[in-house]
Structure formats: structure tokens, C-alpha cells
Amino acid sequence: MSAMTAARDTRVVLWRELLPTLHEPWGLFFTMIQPVIFLSLFGPLIADVPTVPGEDSVWQWFVPGILVMLVLFSTSMTGFGMLMEMQTGSHERLMVTPMSRSAQIVGRSLSQVAPLFAQAVIIVLVMIPFGFNLYPIGALAGLVLLCLLGVGLGALSFALALVVRGQDWIFWTVQQTVVFPLTVLSGVFLPVEGGPGWMQAAAKVNPVTHIVEAERLLFSGEFGDTAVLIGSLAALGFAALGLWIGTSVIRKAAD
């Protein structure tokens, strides 16, 4: 199949996925409630934690982490929508069309980008009056990393939906079991440096930790640190691995 048809199919799937959000953009605010609650409740608490590095303000440290958390939570759940479509029959309907199978995963995963971008921008803008310093170029690079992470996690979530074959509870069990440790052990809420040795070791091997670290540097306008490079590679790795697993699973999923 030609690359052009694949690109075209991906666009069709992507557009289909975006339509409900475009018709009802307010729905995006519901997924933002959680990160905003975390921001307003945790922010004041951690301001006094000595290990939190807050040269400018605590927000410079906290907001990037919360953005990563938003991505982890929302995109890891996105497969559930597909699971529902598998149960009602619309997934099957799409699988009988001549569209390429990979396009169905890539298109769906890319559809994560636009809403995430919008949500992250809103959170950043809201935090500026509270003392969050905006470094536009760095912030933009940070948003790109967030989107890469979102695409990868979204694809993995779709792959999970395909393999659980309609069993919702397996989907949720796996999703929670993976996402909570990834989140907590990435130091988004508190610096892991304050934790026991095993926790620091776990955080080191957690790729999300490195993405969070890179985000913090980028949102403070620092590009030079090697941590930025490592975090970027981790985000790229998520996207590549997620899409690869997702497309392999859907090609075999029909049976």
C-alpha cells in the first residue's frame, strides 16, 4: 500500500476522532479538573518542602510535572473509548473498510495531540499570574515532548484495548497498575531524592522521570543540560515503541 493512501487514511481516522471534541470542546475541561485540583492543593503544600528546588517559584518545578501527569492519566485511558466501540460495533465497521489497519492506530494516537496541547496551554496560561515564568521557546519544546509522550501512551492504550477483547476490568487493572507507579515514581508530586534508596533506583529506570526532568528544564528555558536530551529521547522512545506495538497488535487483531 502506498504511503499516500496510508497518510490519507490516517487523516480520515484522525479527523473522525477529533470531531466529537470539536463539537463539544467543553468536554476537555473535565479531564483538566484533576490536574487543576492537584495544582491548587499540592502547590501550597510543597512550597515548604526543603528538597523542592524553587529558585523562581515552586510552580516552575511543579507545573511541568503536573502536565506530565495529565498526559499519563488522560492518554492511558483513551483505549477505553476504543473498547466501547469494539463492543457497540463501530470498530468492526471501520475494520471492514479498505482503510489500512495501521492508520486506525496512528490516526487515533495522533488525535491525542490537539486536545493535550490545548489543555497544557490553558494550564500554563492560568499559572502565569501565580508566578509561573513563561519561557516561550522552552515551553513550546516542552509541549512537543508532552505530545510525543501522549501519542506513545495513547497507542499503547489502544493496543491494550485490542488485546483484552472486551474485558473492561482487565483494561482498567492493567492501566492502573502501570500508570500509578509510573506517575508516583517519576517525582511529579515530590522529589524522589527524599525517598528511600529503592525508590530512587526505581525512579532512575522509570523513563517518565527523565521526561519530567527535561520538562522542568525546558519550561525554565534551559536547553543545554544533557537531561533535556535524555528526556527527549525517552519521549521519542515512547512514541516510537507505542506506535510500533499498536500497529503490530491491530494487524493481528481481527481474529
Binding site: T88, E92, R93, V96, T97, P98, D255
Partner: protein, 341 residues
């Protein structure tokens, strides 16, 4: 004659399950020609959906071959997909999507450009009386509206061959009649080939020109509804005698009629099947009179497809009907061929 639009040879599918392998479809060999309206009729679990899912490339067969619309289902799945429409057992529209959006998306999925897709969508909304619902979320449609939308989705790219899996299941009688009106008008206007599945006897009987009876994964009969009834069931004669003793004697007399079979007595009622009921009944009544066993009531009933199914499997297809004690699960090993009249 043009080559068949569907041709299968030994198509089979076995599922693995915890309880062991499930042979959902066994050795399906058949042909469907352009313009036919064929119904797979069989109880739940007979293998109807599995057959359709193989023919529409959703499932790979365990063994066997099939050509659909000129393309091999294994080697050219995309070719098959481009040439067929498929309306599955579920609802095709995404719940959170708008009705018209989904039709347009469907057209785009088949390679139509935006303008054409919108034109087709609007035309189909009109035909299926969904114009008012065009901007609503699919979730808010009634069962009948959802089903009409499903068929509209299957028609966006004007396929020459349409598969419908239980199109009318779950609908109230009115919506069912309405859906059928649409399907028949469509067929009249386009001459498309339609293959559908149903477990409603009346539907297969009144709508399909050809019925393929399936049970336990096997095709056990294939022919016109009339042909199947004539060949496999026969007319049912029911006589009410004065007493049970007389009923027994009347049954013995009935057994003497040439071609009579399945003679049963239940209280004062005698039932038997014959080939030409309206001719045989008067003869039978005269014979009973002559023996001093006058009938109190008499009736001839033309057979239904349920009688056909009963004759083939020993079980009834009616929902909730008691299954025969000695439910012979394996029908005749080769499908009964009935000449298309």
C-alpha cells in the same frame, strides 16, 4: 451466466475456547449469484455471524477458500473490502459521533472526497428518513433509527454486494417492517446482491428468495422457501376424533395414505404430513366416514420453515419452543439441494 459473486469451498472456522475447540462453521460450500437475496437461517450459535465475518475478511478461515466479488478473501482482503458493504450485528455509528458526520467519515474511509461523501450522506439520510436526526449524537437514536443508520453506512460507497447480520433483531414489529421496506426498495432500485442472516422464520420466509438453513455450523438445506417446504416438510393435516380410541383407529387409517408420514396421536387429535394436503384431506375424511369414525374438525396447514427446520433437526426454531427429547444434532451430512423453481 456470470461467475458467482460469492463462491466458497470447504470454508471452516474453529475457535479455541476454555472448554475446547468450537467448530463454529464446518465445511461451507456454496455459491451466490449476482442479484440474489439470500438468507442464512438458523438458531443462535449456528455459525451465521462467523460465516459472514469470514466472507467480509473480519476473520481468517481455519481452512477452505472463498472468492467474494471477484477477490480471494485471504489473498486480496482489501479488494474484498472495497467491493462489499457490511452491516454487522452491532451498531456501526460511534455513540459520541453525530449521525451525518459518521456517514461522511464512512464515505471518506472508502476514498470519497468530502463533497461526494456529503452528497451521498445527505441522499441516504433522506432515503432512510434520518434527515431530522442528522445532527444528533448516534447514542440518542431509537433502535430502529440506529439500524437504518447502520444500513445507510453500509451503502455509502454503493457496493454491489451487501452483507447484513441480523438486520432486524431487537426491533419492534413496526420498525422491522419499516426497515424491510427500505431494504426492498433499495434492492428494486439497484439490483444489488444481498446476503443476510436471521433467526426469524417469518422474515426468511417472506423476504428471502433463497434460504440457507444452518445448524451447528453446517449448511443443512439450501433452496427457495417453497421448495424446502414442499420437499422437506409437506402439508400438515389435523383431525379431531370423537374419542381417543377412535383417534387411534383414525391414525392407523392415516398411515395407509400414500406418502403420509409423521403420523402422531395426542388425545383426540391426529396429525399427519402429506404432500398434497388439500387433495388428500377430502379422501381421508370419506375413508374415516366409511369406517364409522367421523371427524369432528379437520384442518390443512401449509408447512412453515419451522416445519422444515423440525424435519431436518428434530428441533423447533421458535424462541422458547421445547426441544425434542432426541434432538439429533447432526442433520444430513450433505446439504439438501432444492431446485430453484
Amino acid at each position: 451466466m456470470t461467475p458467482p459473486i460469492i463462491e466458497t469451498r470447504g470454508l471452516s472456522r474453529t475457535f479455541k475456547s476454555k472448554a475446547g475447540p468450537v467448530e463454529a462453521v464446518k465445511d461451507l460450500t456454496m455459491e451466490v449469484h449476482e442479484g440474489e437475496l439470500v438468507a442464512f437461517l438458523g438458531p443462535n450459535g449456528a455459525g451465521k455471524s462467523t460465516s459472514l465475518r469470514m466472507l467480509t475478511t473480519l476473520l481468517t478461515p481455519t481452512s477452505g477458500e472463498a472468492t467474494v466479488a471477484g477477490c480471494d478473501i485471504r489473498r486480496d482482503a482489501t479488494g474484498v473490502r472495497q467491493r462489499i458493504g457490511y452491516v454487522g450485528q452491532g451498531n456501526g455509528g460511534g455513540h459520541y459521533h453525530r449521525v451525518r458526520d459518521e456517514l461522511v467519515n464512512q464515505g471518506r474511509a472508502y476514498g470519497q472526497d468530502g463533497t461526494l461523501a456529503k452528497q451521498r450522506a445527505d441522499a441516504l439520510l433522506e432515503v432512510f428518513e434520518l434527515t431530522e436526526q442528522a445532527g444528533r449524537n448516534v447514542m440518542t437514536l431509537s433502535g430502529g433509527q440506529k439500524r437504518r443508520m447502520d444500513v445507510a453506512l453500509g451503502l455509502m460507497h454503493q457496493p454491489p454486494l451487501l452483507f447484513l447480520d441480523e438486520p432486524s433483531t431487537g426491533l419492534d414489529p413496526q420498525s422491522r417492517a419499516n426497515l424491510w421496506e427500505h431494504i426492498q426498495r433499495l434492492r428494486h432500485d439497484t439490483g444489488m446482491t444481498i446476503v443476510l442472516t436471521t433467526h426469524y422464520l417469518e422474515e426468511a420466509d417472506s423476504m428471502a428468495e433463497r434460504v440457507m438453513v444452518v445448524d451447528h455450523g453446517r449448511l443443512i438445506a439450501d433452496g427457495t422457501s417453497e421448495g424446502l417446504k414442499e420437499q422437506l416438510a409437506g402439508d400438515l393435516i389435523t383431525i379431531t376424533a370423537r374419542t381417543a380410541a377412535e383417534a387411534g383407529l383414525a391414525a392407523t387409517a392415516g398411515q395407509g395414505i400414500t406418502g403420509a408420514h409423521d403420523v402422531t396421536v395426542e388425545g383426540v387429535t391426529v396429525r399427519l404430513r402429506v404432500d398434497r394436503g388439500p387433495v388428500v384431506l377430502p379422501e381421508y375424511l370419506r375413508a374415516l366416514d366409511a369406517q364409522g369414525l367421523p371427524a369432528q374438525a379437520a384442518e390443512v396447514r401449509r408447512p412453515t420453515l419451522d416445519d422444515v427446520f423440525l424435519a431436518l433437526t428434530g428441533r423447533s426454531l421458535r424462541e422458547g419452543a421445547p426441544t425434542a427429547e432426541s434432538a439429533e444434532s447432526s442433520g444430513p451430512s450433505a446439504p439438501v439441494e432444492v431446485e430453484v423453481a
